[in-house]
Amino acid sequence: MTNIAFRRKVSMTFVATALLLLASGFIFAPSAYAATTEAASRGDYNLALVCFSAALAFGFGAVAAGSAIGKVGSAAMGAISERPEIASQALIFIALAEGLVVFGFITSLMILGKV
């Protein structure tokens, strides 16, 4: 495997993680969709908007986290390949990027809590 292929593979791994996080968003999707449809059928567009906002908060958080982890993780792999002893420090930066999706998740929960 060439080094560029390796680098791509590392990046793809992290992007895949992000996609997984995004996919987890679909767990909320059925109930959000049901609530939104129900609210819309009742003509309660405020509730629909709230559900939509919650989905956006979580979705964008997950995508942003995925993108950030892809980049930070790729750089971390580069540094760790030369100095394995800094692996734990590099993981901190990956965790910081991971925090984005957690913030999105909390924000969406807070929004849904208002319903």
Partner: protein, 361 residues
Amino acid sequence: MSSDRVSLYGFINAKLRAKIGLMRQSKVIENLLHASSLVEAVGVIRDSKYHAVADAYDRTGDLQQMELVLLGMEISMYKEVARYLEGSSADLINHLLGKIEIDNLKNTLRLWYSSIMRQRPIRHRSEYLFKDTILSPIDWTALINATSWEVVGASLKDSPYHDTVAAFTEQDLQQSGLFPLETELDRMWYVHLMECVKTLKKADEDVATSMLLLEIDLRNLMMLVRYGWYHHMDAEAVKRLLLPWGKVASSQESEAYLRQNASERDPHSIINRYYPGLEDQQHSGSAHGDEASVLETLKIEGYLAERRKAIYQRMLAQDPFTIGLSLSYFFLFKEETSMVKAILNGKYYGYEEAYIRGVLV
């Protein structure tokens, strides 16, 4: 900041920064300097990233074979960085590697010249040429064994150097030696390098251009000192050696410096114009005799090398997602290998630690 730049440089620049960190922590240079003999120095590098150099010593006991291994390491370093990059950035790195190929070609042509034109034995020296593929498909062994200049040209037919070499005839070489050809090969490399830099993305182009122009200015200054002052060459001959980019080549100061009588030229004044501070260093007064001139030239070269080092180190603190970091790494790597080479040579010839330390830039 473009997301592409982060993707392109994130991995390799983190890797190079880690390597630079290791380089700075390493005690190899200090321990090498403390070694009391060549054997002890080889013991120092055995447990470092230079272990292949120690292996070469074990195999051959030959200092020049060790230098050949160091050259091989430098070539591998360029190839490794180019592998992790793509597009015009990788092209630039490969083009930088081309300078090593040109230097190897010049060394090979010098040996060929000694053998065929001067009828001197070269067998022992040809063992120290790098004969593997660097970039272009050149058969180094066929080149050095060429029986005539036409055969030399034919050996280079698949390389980018063919046209430049073919433009010179055997008569040209007999009249002027290899110097004009070598200068032309260098010039060709710089011309292509400038073209290569223009194909980079904006941020990379800015960084690469600033570093390249710095290199060209330093090179032109050295030409003014070495050929305009030390070798007393006439103004027109020196001008032909200058590269037509940067601040130095087209400046009025250079023009005025070259207009002076060769023996009256003052290299300090022209260098202080661009890099003030040379006068602060103690120098050997107005040069008297060859030895003083050599010392003075070496001192000026040392001063310019220090300026270059400071600029490359400053580059490390700038935008981390450009090609600048790779260029700085190349500089630091080459600087370290040059030091290893100089120290090993110093130990081989039995110089004291203080003396070797004094000649290291």
